[in-house]
């Protein structure tokens, strides 16, 4: 029969359970190089995000003057001097490729720079932590207050109410800034304030308020640890030369308290620099111990470096017991060799070259893109028409794209069938020899064009026909090819 087994003796897999209940993290305030960098980048990122919709850019009369605007109803995307049409969405593909490669390059150089400093999850969580610290106090105070939750006083209740109100206001502002990218910002702000804005604007603000509040206020490091795919991909993409936030155990071990270390040193025992003060753990926004080594939960924000440096300075030891480093250098130091850093290596070169390559292709495509374009669609039914004098006529639907911000006059020429004549349905007959059409600014114009040619001059069943569109003023030319078919 079953032999009783003590539950504590049961061997679970080395990986532990797949999910652990969230343990609330209480990061302690810290100051230093990396904290200052993070404040600076946070201010920059949030500044760009919140203020960019208000930047104006003059595109001429009738065109929107917002520098960055996604105009969904009119199917246009504006980015400073660039205006993209829906069919040019491949520029975004290029942008995404460059973004991915930049992420890889950052990872090859300095590990999870994105996670630690730039990711919206990090930036907003950091901001929410700052609010929490400002209202509730630092780590110990917050832990004490949370522990005493059974006996909540009015003062504590007011504190929590204030914290969540500020969080919600930030979240609301975040959602508000988002919708400003989709409409004229100053006008929309006024509409929002006077409750005149379209319902969809309020719905999106609501959705993004909710996600910001929940992600940055409640889920925090859980998003990084359980939801985000990047830590998994990053682990697969990194190599032994990448600099990661590392506890230099060659120097730190064995960990000993300050007092004990002196005694042991006096006795001639080897002792490490780590005094086991747990300051690196206290400041960690994901609540981990960096001394356990490189791990998925570590977003590599560098705050533990600041915390450890402060302690090392205080006790008069060399700083950077935790720092950007890798295992190669730890082993080299253990072996008594000087550390080496290889920022320039095949991996970083390949990423840099790929970024430059894709960037150059995009730039070339952008500078050489056509601002005048023509598409031709041959009538399918009937394909060809015989006229009373025996000549043949083909009809085409011609779409003309004027991507410039002003109206312009174009001329249409057709080559291919011998002795062909051209007729644009609805255009003035005076200009039919070489039809001239006005293309309105920033729109597509659709024309029905009839090409007629004598049958005896065009015996072939199918002849290529070229439609050439010339801007009379600028000389810009666009062309398209189709076929002229005999019945």
């Amino acid at each position: 029969m079953n032999k009783p087994v003590n539950p504590t003796e049961v061997q679970l897999g080395d990986d532990g359970p797949l999910y652990a209940p969230q343990k609330k993290v209480y990061p302690q305030s810290v100051s230093g190089t990396f904290r200052r960098t993070k404040w600076g980048l946070m201010a920059f990122c949030l500044g760009v995000y919140y203020l960019l919709p208000f930047v104006r850019w003059n595109r001429g009369l009738g065109a929107p003057d917002q520098a960055v605007l996604v105009d969904l109803p009119n199917r246009r995307f504006y980015f400073f001097f660039i205006e993209l049409w829906p069919q040019e969405v491949y520029y975004f593909t290029g942008l995404l490729i460059v973004a991915a490669l930049t992420l890889f390059l950052m990872n090859a150089v300095g590990g999870r720079i994105w996670c630690g400093y730039l990711c919206p999850q990090t930036v907003w969580t950091d901001l929410f932590y700052a609010v929490e610290r400002w209202i509730e106090g630092d780590r110990r105070e917050r832990m004490r207050k949370d522990a005493a939750k059974g006996t909540m006083k009015l003062e504590r209740f007011a504190e929590l109410l204030l914290k969540h109100s500020i969080w919600l206001m930030i979240a609301w502002w975040t959602g508000g800034a988002w919708v400003l990218y989709f409409n004229d910002a100053p006008a929309l702000v006024w509409q929002l304030v006077t409750f005149q804005a379209p319902a969809i604007a309020y719905i999106w603000i609501g959705i993004l308020t909710a996600t910001t509040y929940v992600f940055a206020g409640w889920m925090r490091e859980q998003v990084c640890v359980y939801m985000c795919p990047w830590p998994r991909i990053q682990a697969a993409l990194t190599d032994e030369w990448a600099l990661n936030v590392t506890y230099k155990y060659d120097r730190g071990e064995a960990r000993t308290s300050l007092k004990k270390a002196n005694e042991l040193r006096a006795l001639g025992h080897p002792v490490g620099d780590c005094i086991d003060c747990y300051q690196c753990v206290a400041v960690c926004p994901t609540g981990i111990d960096i001394r356990d080594g490189s791990q998925l939960d570590c977003i590599q924000c560098g705050l533990c470096i600041d915390a450890c440096d402060a302690v090392m300075t205080k006790i008069g030891r060399e700083t950077r017991l935790i720092g950007y480093d890798n295992d190669i250098n730890i082993h080299r130091r253990e072996a008594g060799k000087p550390p080496i850093y290889r920022l320039v290596r095949p991996r970083t070169i390949v990423y840099a070259v790929m970024i430059a390559g894709v960037g150059a292709i995009m730039l070339y495509a952008l500078l050489n893109r056509t601002l005048l374009d023509v598409n031709v669609l041959h009538d399918r039914n009937p394909v060809a028409v015989k006229l009373s004098d025996g000549s043949i006529r083909n009809a085409y639907t011609v779409r003309l794209l004027n991507k410039r911000g002003f109206d312009r006059v174009i001329a249409i020429d057709v080559d291919g069938p011998a002795n062909a004549t051209l007729h644009v349905v609805g255009a003035d007959s005076v200009t039919q020899d070489r039809p001239m059409i006005v293309l309105a600014r920033d729109t597509t114009t659709e024309l029905r064009i009839l090409v007629t040619a004598p049958a005896e001059n065009n015996p072939e069943k199918s002849i290529p026909v070229h439609f050439r569109v010339t801007d009379i003023g600028l000389g810009e030319v666009a062309s398209a090819t189709d076929h002229f078919v005999s019945p």
């Binding site: 029969m1 079953n2 009783p4 087994v5 539950p7 049961v10 009538d379 399918r380 039914n381 009937p382 028409v385 015989k386 006229l387 009373s388 004098d389 025996g390 006529r393 009809a395 007729h423 349905v425 609805g426 114009t445 659709e446 029905r448 009839l450």
Partner: protein, 290 residues
């Protein structure tokens, strides 16, 4: 749920108390959130039954307190669509026919709306692109039986051809053979004469002067002395390259013997004036419009 407090030694989980050959079943209840969601869906379903049509009855069904029906929704949407289109179609209706093609916006509207109406009403005979078929005129070419300017096209659409409407195009071609006006050999001769008008070959032994005389006596009153046709009477031009029924001798003999009187319905009573206008502009813009 279970009151058993038997704890499994390995996992530390309570068992259900069931045991088979020494194997015990662990009591692993569903997560609370799952159970709550499950009950919530049941409550939701009951609410659904109350407000929406749900249960079939013998001859009907429960309608729900919101009186929702997809059919009513379609009716509303169609009414809304009508409202949206109404204003534009009214502009089209009030614009002079000749002005529509000069205004790009009106032209686009007329062509788009005309194309749909054409597909619904005209395509069965004239083809989806207006290319026609034997006996059904091609509307893309420049030959018109009853005239190809905007007013003439509109009149033909409104009242049709031999449609029975008081204002319709009435005249028809006489069945020269069936009615005994011409004999068989005369018909063959005049058929060859008609072929010669547009430069087509004639049969050996054909008498051109006899053909010309028969034509002048019988056909010229409608088709004209030169065979150029007459749009007042719907008589086609016999000198050009377009043939509604065919240009070979046998077909021409059949045409002359039995006459031709193709029919087109009058649309004035079926389509509203704005739609007929759109249709007129669409047909005119196919390419043959005068």
């Amino acid at each position: 749920m279970t009151k058993h407090s038997d704890i499994d030694h390995v996992s530390g989980t309570a068992t259900t108390g069931h045991e088979w050959d020494g194997i015990k079943e662990l009591n692993t209840p569903l997560p609370r959130w799952w159970v709550i969601t499950f009950y919530a869906t049941i409550v939701w379903a009951i609410g659904y039954w109350i407000v929406y049509p749900a249960w079939p009855l013998l001859w009907s069904h429960t309608t729900g307190i919101w009186n929702y029906s997809t059919r009513a929704e379609v009716v509303t949407e169609l009414a809304n669509l009508e409202k949206v289109r109404g204003a534009k179609m009214a502009t089209l209706g009030s614009a002079p026919l000749a002005e529509i093609e000069k205004d790009p916006a009106l032209l686009a509207l007329a062509r788009a709306s005309g194309k749909t109406v054409f597909g619904d009403n005209c395509a069965p005979c004239h083809g989806t692109g207006g290319a026609g078929a034997k006996g059904y005129p091609n509307l893309n070419d420049d030959e018109w039986l009853w005239g190809g300017n905007l007013e003439q096209i509109m009149q033909t659409i409104q009242y049709g051809v031999r449609s029975g409407h008081p204002k319709t195009h009435e005249s028809a071609m006489l069945a020269f053979g069936k009615e005994g006006v011409l004999k068989k050999d005369q018909i063959v001769t005049v058929a060859n004469y008609v072929r010669s008008l547009s430069g087509l070959s004639t049969s050996p032994g054909y008498d051109a002067s006899a053909g010309a005389k028969i034509f002048a006596d019988n056909c010229a009153s409608c088709h004209g002395d030169q065979g150029k046709g007459n749009q007042e009477l719907g008589a086609p031009d016999l000198t050009d390259k377009i043939w509604l029924y065919g240009s070979d001798e046998a077909t021409l003999v059949e045409t002359i013997s039995n006459g031709r009187s193709g029919v087109m319905p009058a649309w004035v009573s079926r389509l509203d004036p704005s739609t007929i206008k759109a249709l007129t502009v669409y047909v005119h813009s196919l390419g043959g419009g005068k």
